[in-house]
Chain length 451, copies 2
Amino acid sequence: MVSKVASQKKIKGQVFLPGTVHWLVVSVAINLGLLLKLIHDGHLRMEWSGPNGMPGKENGATLSSLSSYPAEPKQANDGQIQQKLINLDHGDPTMYQSYWKQMGDRTTVVISGWQSVSYFSDTKNLCWFLEPGFANAVTRLHNLVGNAETENQHIVVGTGSTQLFQAVLYALCPSDAPEPMSIVSAAPFYSSYPLITECLKSGLYKWRGDANDFDKDEPYIELVTSPNNPDGSIREAVFNGSGGIVVHDLAYYWPQYTPISSRADYDIMLFTLSKSTGHAGMRLGWALVKDETIAKKMVKFIEISSIGVSKDSQVRAAKILDVISDTYEDAETSNESKPFFDYGYEEMKKRWGQLREAVNKGQSFSLPNLPVGKCNFSNQTFGTQPAFAWVKCEQAVDDCESFLKKHKILTRGGAHFGSSKKYARVSLIGHEDDYNEFIRRFSQINYVESL
Amino acid sequence: MVSKVASQKKIKGQVFLPGTVHWLVVSVAINLGLLLKLIHDGHLRMEWSGPNGMPGKENGATLSSLSSYPAEPKQANDGQIQQKLINLDHGDPTMYQSYWKQMGDRTTVVISGWQSVSYFSDTKNLCWFLEPGFANAVTRLHNLVGNAETENQHIVVGTGSTQLFQAVLYALCPSDAPEPMSIVSAAPFYSSYPLITECLKSGLYKWRGDANDFDKDEPYIELVTSPNNPDGSIREAVFNGSGGIVVHDLAYYWPQYTPISSRADYDIMLFTLSKSTGHAGMRLGWALVKDETIAKKMVKFIEISSIGVSKDSQVRAAKILDVISDTYEDAETSNESKPFFDYGYEEMKKRWGQLREAVNKGQSFSLPNLPVGKCNFSNQTFGTQPAFAWVKCEQAVDDCESFLKKHKILTRGGAHFGSSKKYARVSLIGHEDDYNEFIRRFSQINYVESL
């Protein structure tokens, strides 16, 4: 599945100088390369601390280093950024911030002090805490993009798709079953699934790991993330046992990441603002659920665990989703600015291009082959360009996360995803400055390691 | 503990007419009374349905009737409101909406489309998803009101105090203990505690009910709500076993409800916007936590279960809390409008006055005696005037909730709070129209039942 991408001859941004200057540059590059190799081999030790320092991991939980990443990186000069810890562990979607800044006031919302007083949003809806404007905007956007069927589906809003995942487990696992329900997903799977499932040692459900290894003749839930986090693969359920229920996490099924090949029409589909529009700080997700009883039980869970979902974020999200639809549907506004998914697609394409170039600089790393397809939304044919890269450290490196950490690049190692430590997940949707610095270091490491 | 409040001779709002008209009014009142008694005794059956209809309770869960309450009641004429189902089951704090409307633009926030992109709010804070402006506003308000010590406390923000309660359980219950930790609270206790605790059949903790009945020599957590939900009593921990940890839910420790007698300085204190400012739809609460390790584990839970808390709601809440402080601290603005807690205090005083009058119309109901004290914030001496009334049905009525439901008044019965069905909890913080109609019906029932 993982193979080396063919070498590319044209290296973007590289300038060849004539004569002496050329040789000087080559000499300095080799010196720098040797220095980096010394550091990597442990002859020189690096330590760092302070606001961007790496805190100690706690109880083996994956996300403990969240606090090492600044929300708003300060302007740094070149010297500073070369010393900086680059955190690509989390999928913090700050890449999108520049787009929303370009959009100016068009997505600004004004909320009065008397709003959001009641717990209730729409008492006629089975999801009584769902703001009607948000529900309409979600339906409109899915219909525009064509990535999910919204007819005969109930929308359930959640505090991110993370809460919705828990609501699904609560809804699907009978409280009177003799044994907890088995929860599985094909490895590599999203690292939060086992953490959430095991967090409270629930008697309703139990994490059973890789769906490929599951062969019990008992009820189970299989989580299918497509495109997959971490490796970007396009997926279907792998296990077809009796009594199985499949939950589709479609957080990345948007046209900036992957061709929209068909309108998904599964029983339970999860989406999130974080990865569609990039508004992770809103903590907002939604589920499309066919069965009314399941939708009601999900609503019940959200009622018990948080008595609904922030109205403020729903109001903002409605505005943002509607503006995205406007840029495609409204001829007048669409002339004023680049439509959102076009921006996202081009940015992801650029970043994947940079990454593949860096990988091609040596033999230290490889990337998965990703499928190419026709996108019904954009009418373009392109390869999946996921929010994360699933990097494999080749040769003698056994722990890719630790290896990159020595170079002040924080990633999430393969073991968190039920896979080998030879892999690490790298976020491609962070701030541009950080990403460029990552590419610079990654290229250097690859070059030096391959000497 | 529960006693009949002394009869009051002066009945507010009652007008005595001379001669014939007087007798006509008395006659009509008696006819109406007899009609109500027939309905109550089952000789006439009432049914209702539609948007305000009472949905079937599901799996015995307390909150299943949430959807029967409209967020924004339509303007109704007198005839309509007399037929309306009055939902006082939930503590939906819509009473506060009129105050915030009066405040006009002063609490309006403008949020740009590029805000709330990152997951992170403040990477220097152990609670990395806590907006600094919200943290400052919380500290400022506590210092102004004097209801909680903020020095040497960590602020942890949550999706309502409901999520914070779960975070506390996660933080305090060791994952490797042989038995789940016992969770107790003195009855009557907040009805959501057992629901949340038992919801996922956690192996970390187990609901053990009334703290007064708990006598095991093992680690436990006692939840102390003060003023208490549902009965408004001022509380301290009742059980002093070894290995006990006390969690203080101070959702109602604000000067509109109770005299602020001292600056609370407990190890773990929970607060919520819903009951302090009335912004339930924001789903925002905060904990003040002394121990850094506990605070970190709470943050970890919120990270795993929802990857933080809505930034939008935090931004709005910061504005609202700051405006409240402004109305007390800023001489210029304080002249423009009534300060928030003054409004809340007067509204609660008025509503409690109406309720006591209604109770005094007959012998059918009684209310708890509530403590009187000096408030350090307002310098007034007054009795606790809680957000809920803990009504006891006297005489032959064994199920107070069902009894009131026959009169289209939805309340929450005592059994949900670990107490007798003779009691029902009634919200006093709903819309004024609904509350007035409740008082009208309640007075009539009391009068007729006592004939």
